[in-house]
């Protein structure tokens, strides 16, 4: 049985449809991320699961119970907000104990569970402080403690890391995942940050304009994007117009002017049905810049000229010209980065490429 299931959910605000016909099954104990740019409907979806918004159509089920008509305070959910939303007039301990006061929990049991929750988020000393005396990262940990102390059926996280600065965000990401795994709570995480999504999730749901673009494990979504949107949104990708000339069993052969023939495994092009125009997807970090004439063991190679170089310390992002195509490549820097105007050989493996049918979007 799924912990959370959405079936045919539609949410309209007046004439605007925020979520179109969305269906989703979230497994018990899993960490699922709704990923997409702002306005894609991910927060709306989360708020519908939470009970803060009512779906226009469709059913929401939590642990087998249809919750459309169950008010938020009876859904037993943990909710964590981007801005922490701690009660400023209550101490940390009172904040964490808040939810327990509405459940039949004895007084010393409340004390014990609050202490355990603070222990879990590694802030056992701060119970007597007020939220404004804490740093942003600490406040977010307390918000998390407050949400999990009630042992919710589902933990809902609405961009919980976005308000933190970069270093802290990475620490909290690891911390959040550790806590989630240690208590095994089903978690729905909303973010626009692909790094967070890829690092933390068991499953990623990529959304765009109120529709689900792809559902899959981080690796699948990253390596085999189902749509052009996913290819562009996750990581830096090169999308090139190509032609499928032949679709043999298990293989797809692509022709692209100026490139050698590219022979892609069928599982990297599941939606390409036969000969015709396709889009070739190559991740920027799968394109390797080499000195001209370098041996290419098992790799395809093509001549290119380096354009702009975006130096990033250990790596660099190169914008290169291959015939008429502009492409980008992200490479680790060995000795020196390549310089603008340098002639290079671009090398890549056919099995690192993916192909998509050409989409006709309205």
């Amino acid at each position: 049985m799924s912990a959370v299931s959405l079936s045919q959910i539609v949410k309209r605000f007046g004439d605007y449809t925020a979520v179109h016909q969305m269906s989703l099954e979230i497994e018990e104990g899993s960490f699922v991320t709704l990923l997409g740019p702002s306005g894609c409907g991910k927060t709306t979806t989360l708020r519908m699961i939470a009970g803060l918004l009512d779906p226009t159509q469709g059913d929401i089920t939590i642990k087998g119970r249809r919750v459309n008509d169950v008010p938020i305070h009876k859904r037993n959910l943990g909710l964590v907000f981007q801005n922490y939303a701690l009660f400023p007039h209550k101490t940390v301990a009172e904040n964490v104990a808040f939810g327990l006061n509405y459940r039949d929990v004895a007084k010393d049991e409340v004390k014990r569970r609050v202490a355990a929750a603070l222990e879990l988020v590694q802030l056992p000393e701060l119970g007597a402080r007020y939220p404004k005396e804490l740093s942003g990262g600490q406040q977010q940990r307390i918000a998390l403690a407050r949400a999990i102390v009630i042992e919710p059926d589902v933990l809902l996280l609405d961009e919980p890391l976005s308000a933190l600065d970069a270093n802290l965000r990475e620490d909290m990401r690891v911390e959040l995942k550790r806590i989630q795994q240690s208590i095994g709570v089903t978690t729905v995480f909303v973010t626009h940050d692909q790094t967070e999504a890829l690092a933390m999730s068991d499953q990623i749901i990529v959304m765009s304009e109120g529709r689900v673009e792809q559902v899959g494990a981080p690796e699948d979504v990253y390596n085999t994007p189902a749509t052009e949107f996913v290819a562009r949104f996750l990581g830096a990708s090169n999308l090139l117009d190509a032609r499928c000339t032949e679709s043999a069993p298990g293989r797809v052969l692509l022709d692209l002017p100026g490139f050698p023939r590219i022979d892609i495994p069928k599982e990297r092009a599941p939606r390409v049905s036969g000969p015709g125009p396709v889009r070739l997807v190559i991740r920027a970090e799968k394109l390797h810049l080499k000195a001209p004439g370098s041996p290419a063991e098992g790799m395809l190679s093509v001549d290119a000229v380096v354009g702009n170089v975006d130096y990033q310390g250990q790596s660099a992002r190169y914008f290169v010209r291959v015939g008429d195509h502009q492409m980008q490549a992200v490479n680790m820097i060995e000795d020196h980065p390549f310089a603008e105007g340098e002639r290079v050989t671009l090398q890549f493996r056919a099995k690192d490429c993916a192909a998509l049918p050409v989409e006709s979007r309205p």
Binding site: P71, G78, F81, H89, Y102, Y130, I150
Partner: protein, 288 residues
């Protein structure tokens, strides 16, 4: 001059116009009143300058003044509570309404475009013997004779509430509007009903606004004199009416000065007590 010196002077330069105005228009006249209160009114001719305690003795010992002072405080307290009870839901509604907040706030301010006296007198057209309410009741047939509804303490309170409600609503609105709506959502997600969430979270966080609005309503009603004149009966005089009567009616400036200083001191002490026990500064700190 060094940069530090210039920076240290800047606030004082900016404050000068305001401080000048406060000194000339408030402090200096107040000092005049203080001095006046120790003079003596003579039966004929100019008042006698000097240091006499007669006015203060009269103001502090005459039961008549004490009763009216207590009654004034009672009316102010009832008015303040009524304003809070009526104003809080309105302020909550405005703060939580989406989009048309500005329109609602303008509507709230609209009465201020009409003179306070006219607004107060409008009650005569509503509650008077030939007013709207009596006419309606007689037309329906519930009563045969018009009822005298005006000129009592209730209508004075009614008029004061009418006058002061917007101040209360605005003060509560400002503090409600500053409360993150996620806090209520967080409370409900943790199992609190909307009402429990309101009592536990929203209400305590809006107390500074409620306290400020309450203080404003109380002080303004304790100092009012137009409303009892227009809507009160002969026995509904409030303390400011006594001051008016002493100064304008009997031309007794020394006694009027002592009475007005007495009211000022009573209100000042109440504000201090209020601040001490409702701990507005404390609450403001809690909001960080």
């Amino acid at each position: 001059m060094s940069i530090e010196q210039r920076e240290a002077r800047q606030p004082w330069i900016l404050l000068t116009p305001a401080l000048t105005a406060v000194t000339l228009l408030l402090i200096v006249p107040l000092m005049f009143i203080v001095v006046y209160s120790f003079w003596l009114k003579s039966a004929v001719g100019a008042d006698t300058p000097g240091f006499f305690l007669d006015n203060w003795q009269e103001a502090l010992t005459d039961r008549f003044y004490r009763d009216i002072l207590l009654n004034t405080l009672k009316i102010s307290a009832i008015t303040t509570i009524a304003c809070a009870a009526l104003g809080y839901p309105a302020a909550y509604f405005i703060a939580r309404s989406k989009g048309n907040k500005v329109v609602l706030l303008v509507l709230l301010m609209l009465p201020f475009w009409i003179s306070y006296i006219i607004r107060t007198m409008s009650w005569i057209n509503i509650l008077g013997v030939s007013g709207a309410l009596n006419s309606a009741l007689m037309w329906i047939g519930i009563i045969n004779q018009p009822i005298q509804m005006l000129y009592n303490e209730t209508t004075v309170i009614l008029g004061l509430v009418h006058f002061l409600l917007p101040f209360m609503v605005l003060n509560i609105f400002v503090s409600l509007d500053g409360i993150d709506t996620n806090l209520e959502d967080a409370a409900s997600s943790l199992g609190a009903t909307r009402w429990q969430g309101f009592l536990q979270v929203t209400l305590p966080l809006s107390l500074p606004g409620l306290a400020a609005g309450g203080l404003l309503c109380f002080v303004l009603s304790a100092g009012t004199y137009i409303t009892p004149v227009i809507l009160g009966g002969p026995r509904d005089a409030m303390f400011a009416n006594l001051v008016y009567e002493a100064i304008i009616g009997q031309l007794d400036w020394p006694l009027g000065s002592a009475l007005s200083l007495l009211l000022l001191m009573v209100l000042g002490v109440l504000v201090l007590i209020y601040n001490r026990y409702l701990g507005m500064a404390q609450l403001a700190k809690g909001l960080g």
